[in-house]
Symmetry: none
Amino acid sequence: MQELTLRQQEILLWIRQYMVDHGIPPTRLALCAAMGFRSPNAAETHLRALERKGAIELVQGVSRGIRLVEDPKEASGLPLIGKVAAGQPILAVAHIESYEPVDPGLFQPVAHYLLRVQGESMRNAGILEGDLVAVHHTLIVQNGQIVVARLEDEVTIKRFYRQGERVELRPENPDFPVIEVNLKKQALHIEGVMVGLIRT
Amino acid sequence: MQELTLRQQEILLWIRQYMVDHGIPPTRLALCAAMGFRSPNAAETHLRALERKGAIELVQGVSRGIRLVEDPKEASGLPLIGKVAAGQPILAVAHIESYEPVDPGLFQPVAHYLLRVQGESMRNAGILEGDLVAVHHTLIVQNGQIVVARLEDEVTIKRFYRQGERVELRPENPDFPVIEVNLKKQALHIEGVMVGLIRT
DNA sequence: TCCTTAACTGTATATAATTACAGTTACTTG
DNA sequence: CAAGTAACTGTAATTATATACAGTTAAGGA
């Protein structure tokens, strides 16, 4: 989509709101009334401009023939985190690969983001490579929960067990080792707990 | 919403589809063309009837002023099929446990419904008891695909292999047996292919 | 300075769309 | 059996809507 002028952005926003309120696209005259135009042609040329820039589609000869060309980000979904660069916070905008059309409230507690699984270390918990794990962003985790943790700039999904200052991050696959952490010697960041999974 | 006649249901379904296809509600004339009416008044009276029964709302004097009065859950979610009673088609309304707020287009090809997994026979494919399998409703399946099949009134999720009239439904768990079917002797209904999975 | 573009005014017209009115036919229900 | 209702045909009129054409003004770049 080409860049819009301020006025065009304003008009696009109004069209979106109109469609939410009324369930149908507006007419040229409705746009005139809302924007204070005294000529229907003002509305017409604005719509043509929005079409030219790819923000909407116009259907010829059809009343209210305005179709929104949606920005996928707008669709209220969950951000999907792909590869996480070393030393960066997991929720940095740079890591957002896309937005997936999933209701955060589908999970309990609510999901804050999705994380793409790398590797087979949690295979026996039914978590395969490429799956999207729904994560609730919290520091409060309990023994036995599957957590997203960052250790030495590496993000990993494991089962969490803690006794005092000793933490075990256990895989669910005998081919992988248990990771042992001494909290006094190593920094362990909890990025959240797994609340669900999506495979597409 | 009051009960609709068959014809009215047909018309309501068509209106829904039209709105999905075009992004705007239909005109009376479009409804005439689709239903084969020769009088616009046939469309008008049908719309009035649908309004009277609470299925739609009509906005006076406004072109395409048709608003769907929908169950919001139904609007954008996928039906979740729980236990399937013996001898009944899987998509019967009685089997719909709830509607989950998941975009059908999240999966490729598009998902038509979700099915709750019973048993651990597909454990090694990362499909656990209680998971929701997203299903694309189709008869066209290929060897190696994970399918939803009905055999002797029992619905099952297995990997599908066919050679001529012999079909094997293979589990992904050594504790479960391979199911062999001779298509000439036993009726096998394919209810669709797995296109994804959700764990909540 | 000329040219292009955004952002409009103002008028006009064809056509898209709603909607009223007058009927018909078939089926169901008290 | 009368009355109501669903499901239509057919015509007409009014209003809603899209859209062409002819202008104006202001800003910005070549």
